[in-house]
């Protein structure tokens, strides 16, 4: 009884301290296991507009080609006025890593993301609508 009470006291402050490391064990990323994109070396998980005209592209490195450790992400943004921009990111990408590529593209309406992992190329396009 005394040992259990001691353990309860000792552990009472633990959750608050451990919660600071929640990023380590909880990604919040969910992909349907039947999604065929999981069998390719990378997929575009999300494209989000952020404040200040920034665009956040989240690329998920899957477990295909497990030996590959690096990826090149090319983000091509197309504006409503016909303007175009290209941003290239060289990233360390072990399997399972969620890569975040942030670009400044206030007037973007369409995004084309190319991910190259160990010679294999994945291309995805997203329409974003007006800014």
């Amino acid at each position: 009884m005394a040992v259990c009470a001691l353990l309860a006291y000792v552990l009472s402050r633990y959750p608050g301290a451990a919660a600071r490391y929640a990023d380590f064990w909880s990604s919040g990323v969910r992909v349907n296991p039947l999604d065929a994109r999981l069998l390719r070396p990378a997929l575009v998980y999300a494209v989000e507009r952020e404040e200040g005209g920034e665009l956040r592209v989240l690329v998920l490195r899957t477990y295909a080609l497990p030996e590959a450790r690096n990826a090149t992400v090319t983000v091509r943004v197309f504006g409503g006025d016909g303007g175009e921009g290209i941003f290239v990111f060289g990233e360390r990408a072990p399997p399972g890593r969620l890569l975040a590529c942030v670009v400044h593209a206030p007037a973007v309406v369409r995004v084309r993301v190319e991910v190259e992992v160990d010679g294999a190329r994945v291309v995805e396009e997203r329409w974003l609508g007006g800014p």
Binding site: V10, R13, Y14, A18, P33, A36, L39, P66, G96, L98
Partner: protein, 558 residues
Amino acid sequence: MSGRLLEFAGSAALGAGLLLAWVYALSLLGFSCPSWDPRLSIVPRVLLLPLGYGGALLWALLLLPPSLSLGRLWLAAPLLALALTLFLGDPLPLALLSLLLAFKGRSFEALPAGIVAVELVVLLGLAAYAYGLRLPLLSALPLHFSLYCFLVPAVPALALLACFSPLLAPLAPRRAELSLPVRGKPLLAFGLLESFLVWSVVYASALNPGARLVGVDAVTRYYPHALQLLEGGLPSVLKVGYDRPLHYLLLYGLARALGPYDAVRALALTPLLLYALASYLVARELWGGRVAGLAAAVAPATYTATAGLFGGLYGNWTALALALLACAAAVRWLRRGGAARLVLYLLLLAAAAGVHVYMGAVAFAALSLFLLLAAARKREWRRRALAALTLQLVLALVGLYAGERYFSALGARGPLSIVRLNVNLWLRRAASVKLFSEQWWGDFCFAIYRYAATAALDPTVWLLTALAVAVLGFRDLGGLLLAPWMLLTALLALTAPSSLIYRSLFDFPYPLAEAVGLAYLAALVEGRLGGRAALVWVAALLLFKLGFALFFAVGLAS
């Protein structure tokens, strides 16, 4: 034989199905698993179940043999589940069928069989990756991660539970049966092979073609010091390696023979092999050959190995191995007497202190407590225990006095002043620490998650250690050795500054405790499910541990 293999294959298929269902559940919850990458530091790896439609078909096929064992009508179940999966666009029906079959079948055997199958694929994949072979293997890493990632949030608490394990002895059963359906010597050979494999992944594989030095101390301490030793010659050994003179003597010899770079690489192999062998020898004295084999097999795949490789703590690690050899000699002396054993014990203990003063001091304190408790426990041990204790105290005092004088004459820091300095630092820290406050937990979590760089995240280390120390209590010689050693480790780890917590946790001989924990579990399983189930459980846990250690080594090297 072939019938048994088929039965095992059926169990493994159901186990793999269960694991797929488990990964599916964890991936729905958005779990990730932290791992080490030399360029990114700690990377959370998202847990995914990359099935696709082909994978769903494979899952349904895996469920056919266990369905067949329930009757012909059940054969339709996997096909129905597959059809539903395709219709819904979600593998929930297959996951539910896996669970149902597990409830109907022998899930306690199936689950470890599935873990064995998955870990074999993981190990093969890691070995292929390390040696540059491109095998058409499916990556089973998500399945491996799923075995422990859900416990990662609790690992600091589990480490603390292990520290408290001597206090849990009153809660444990009074009589602990240890059993293992495998002989010791093949496991010793396996342990030595594992040691070499872990080392070769780090230093002799395609991942590290230039044999870049790996480990904090390997780069910041051993290599520059090897250059200094070569420049200063033999007399510089005491000056440069004042807190680990014997280890630096070895480094000097290796540097002369192989060159400074290869000397550091070879230095990493020494403790890996010596630790496996020492764990075997001491466990054989305490619990017999079978548990000893298990200790040797666990040694290269435990926290000592992962933290030791990451920190490059070769001196601490070698000293710990020598201290274990000293334990083996001490146990022999207590049981059988013989002056040669006593002399060997004292020499090995002195060698441990010579290889690493701090680690030697910890081992000295742990073994002093062991001898004291042994003297108090049984009359037949009393005379020998007190004789050994007296002699080691005299030896330590004479050694400290002589060392202090000798090193002072050389202008280097002597062992007494090192001990005094460390004790003062520790006391200052211990006086200010507020044990178990949120700040203290913050430091402890930082040490486990960040400072140890995922080396401490194998939950089986802490769970098996806690189980073994609690079950052994203070009853036999094994308990009298491990419980005070753990109390000492806990005292240091709980009061250490955050940068030294992971190194203080390093001071305990985990393979001994883990081997006892595994043998205890094996006895429980054998009693309820039979010897074969016990064997499969032990194999599953061992392979999981090896998978964890090898994956960590791959992360260090790549």
